[in-house]
Symmetry: C2
Subunit: 445 residues, 2 copies
């Protein structure tokens, strides 16, 4: 394919249309996601399934004819859940003893077979637990702060509430709490508990932590309002083992004009150990592979070097993203842009970005190419987690922004399965990412 040496004022409308048409008629992306979800399944860092996902995506990119496909070694945390959690109210005046729908938080220590049995104290925030001080000593702290339903960007609501899950355990442990129970991170009222990682602060006692479903959180809160001294028995068998070797999977298509300029596009290959990691982030991975496959299939020779990266360990360590950036810096690589998809595979509505104002303006100038496909939002500032370590190298960062309303119906739960992803929406996402990378490659950034 002949590339004009100068591309000033080139119009890309026709090529973008070809990319969308290709995805909507001939894409393997939905079948590839089915394979990842159904034949491999959930793929927590360090699990055999994570290794299978590494091999699967390596083979996919080789089969599609990427110029180079290789594995980038990275040591990852190896956390295991162990047998099913028990979280039981033991002494309700109204209901007697009964189970709550619960799931241990990722990275949490377990209670072991002896469990923890203690009085429950409810708070709505970390500030509140700090105010209580030593009043939480010996107790199980129940963090019941809700996601704000009026935030139309659900990720913003998540961002405010999730500090309870991330830091609540250590903040409670500081004053002697024995364990924590967290309200699940979702706007829905249902029976599904949501896991997700916690971070223990250094030098603080590590106490066990579980999330309970929002219906159970509401009920527990009601019972606590009526009865002092309500107790919970919690038993979890999770464990953090030794770090273990895993890999980022990298597929490369060499640039024809500026091969030293690298454009990275990716998602994270690991998931939690429940559900199938379909929206989080199987879809992001499969759409990223589509970017490279579509270039090859449609005979588009990139000017710059295109890297498709399956990042390992976003969920409970970000080791893959960190290592990718470290190696890039060590090798003196020149990344000009990086795009991630890690907000689900719902219908794409835009891109967030982080970089120089003129770079953001340039991307916003491309909106005209996307509005025919209902992709219209180019103002939000943001980036994906895995590519964020590239920020210090001055790389222009972007994340695809799908419709966010339903993401937290599925996030980190057994409901995040292949069936929750719509074929057309996934194909539109793949076309949207491919078109954006095409424009960056053609026009520079």
């Amino acid at each position: 394919m002949l590339i004009p040496a100068l591309s000033y004022a080139q119009d890309h409308t026709e090529m973008v249309k070809k990319i969308y048409d290709h995805q909507l008629t001939q894409s393997p992306v939905y079948e590839n996601l089915r394979y990842l979800c159904k034949e491999i399944g959930p793929r927590l860092s360090g699990s055999p399934q994570a290794a299978a996902a590494v091999e699967y995506t390596r083979q996919l990119m080789m089969d599609y004819g990427f110029d180079t496909v290789y594995l980038q070694p990275v040591m990852v945390p190896h956390w295991v859940r162990g047998q099913k959690e028990i979280t039981r109210v033991t002494n309700s005046d109204i209901k007697g003893a009964f189970e709550l729908n619960s799931i241990a938080l990722g990275n949490s220590v377990g209670t072991g077979a002896e469990g923890v049995h203690a009085e429950v104290i409810e708070v709505k925030s970390i500030e509140e637990v700090n105010k209580l001080g030593k009043a939480v000593a010996g107790k199980i702290v129940f963090y019941n702060g809700e996601m704000d339903p009026t935030k139309v960007n659900t990720f913003a609501a998540y961002g405010s509430a999730v500090v309870q899950r991330a830091y609540g355990a250590s903040e409670a442990a500081k004053n002697g709490a024995k364990a924590v129970v967290i309200r699940s991170m979702t706007n829905r009222r249902d029976d599904i508990p949501h896991t997700g990682s916690l971070v223990y602060k250094p030098l603080m006692p590590k106490i066990p932590a579980v999330a309970i479903s929002t219906n159970d959180a509401d009920e527990l809160s009601k019972l606590l309002a009526k009865q002092k001294g309500l107790k919970i028995y919690m038993e979890t068998h999770c464990e953090m083992k030794e770090d273990i070797l895993s890999y980022n999977v990298i597929g490369e298509i060499k640039g024809s004009q500026y091969p030293e300029e690298i454009i990275t596009v990716g998602g994270h290959l690991d998931s939690w150990d429940v559900g199938e990691g379909a929206h989080d982030d199987g879809g992001g991975c499969m759409m990223s592979i589509e970017v490279g496959r579509t270039f090859i299939e449609m005979g588009i020779q990139p000017k710059r070097t295109l890297r498709v990266v399956m990042f390992m360990n976003e969920e409970n360590g970000l080791r893959g993203g960190t290592e990718y950036a470290r190696v890039a810096e060590e090798k003196g690589e020149k990344h000009i842009a990086a795009l991630e998809s890690d907000s689900g595979s719902f219908g794409p509505m835009g891109f967030s970005s982080m970089g120089k104002e003129e770079q953001r303006k340039k991307v916003q100038g491309w909106a005209k190419y996307f509005t025919p496909y209902h992709v219209w939002s180019f103002e939000r500032v943001g980036s994906g987690a895995d590519i964020s370590p590239l920020e210090s190298q001055g790389v222009f960062l972007m994340e695809m922004e799908p419709n966010p309303q339903k993401y937290f119906n599925y996030h980190h739960t057994n409901a995040d399965t292949f069936e929750a992803v719509d074929k057309r929406e996934l194909e539109l996402g793949a076309a949207t990412m491919t078109s954006m990378i095409y424009l960056i490659d053609q026009e520079g950034i």
Copy 2:
């Protein structure tokens, strides 16, 4: 509540935010839709369930304190499906005899117990059947034209393909065909047949018609390519009975300044007799009721008269919409605008409209109020079916435009159930409609 006499340059940002916040935190819309879908169920025109839906929505609007709630009588077609359809390939060399997933088209005559057994001939369009002429005599015509997957607006793809379902039977009957089988109207490949209405041309023999699932259509097409003389046995027991009395349900809130200016908002209360009519159009009805309820609950006294209308019989006759417009004309009512929601309850992304260019420009000028809620599309020309008979009276017409990617996954099938509707997306839709009606009421159009 004091309304300023002059509203020039009034900014509505704050009120719109209040409307959205109200819907996202205190709305009964999801529970109301659950009741309609689960306690009443599908509500084909003339069915007992349609009568129940009339009574339910009448009581709802009375309970919410609408100024007036009344029923507008309208005679509707009374079509009944009868016992389950049989559509069976009888002589496949490869598979022997086997059943296809089928559903009779609405308004279709039945084959009766004797059934129809005839050779199948495949076409992709009405043009093709007309070219074949007498070659279709005595045969079952299989219309296998697909919805175009590259049309991002799936309603446009539907519009092109659905002529086969609407007019295919009469066009085939013209040349002596005995029956027709239609590929279901969806972009998906699955086993779910989609019903929907057909229209018999006057003076043409009425022949039976069923839709089959897309998977079955693909398979039937493959078998036909390999085997001449493939036959189908079709047995349907549907029947068009005498027209029967039903009602549009109308709830009114009197305008304080221009009571003679009417703004109508509605959806259609009838549905097909499979599934629960959740997206089509239970959601549209429940969101429309929210417009009035929200005005009352938030103490917004409309300047103009607000009419919430549950139209009867959109699916197989449009009698309710037609009667509503006829009565409006007869009474000399002055409708200034009408808004319908009949494209599902997926996340709202905008409004289509039909009217004078300056009216459309005025609405487009309000886009700024909606973009914070991810509602951005105000350019498309269009209107809802039920309000379209008002066009000749010069009424400005609008339809809410939800994300269209998944609508035809559910449309006219047993999959169109309450579970297919997301609570937040429904609430956002109700807020979007309420805000638009609020702006039209405040600013005029």
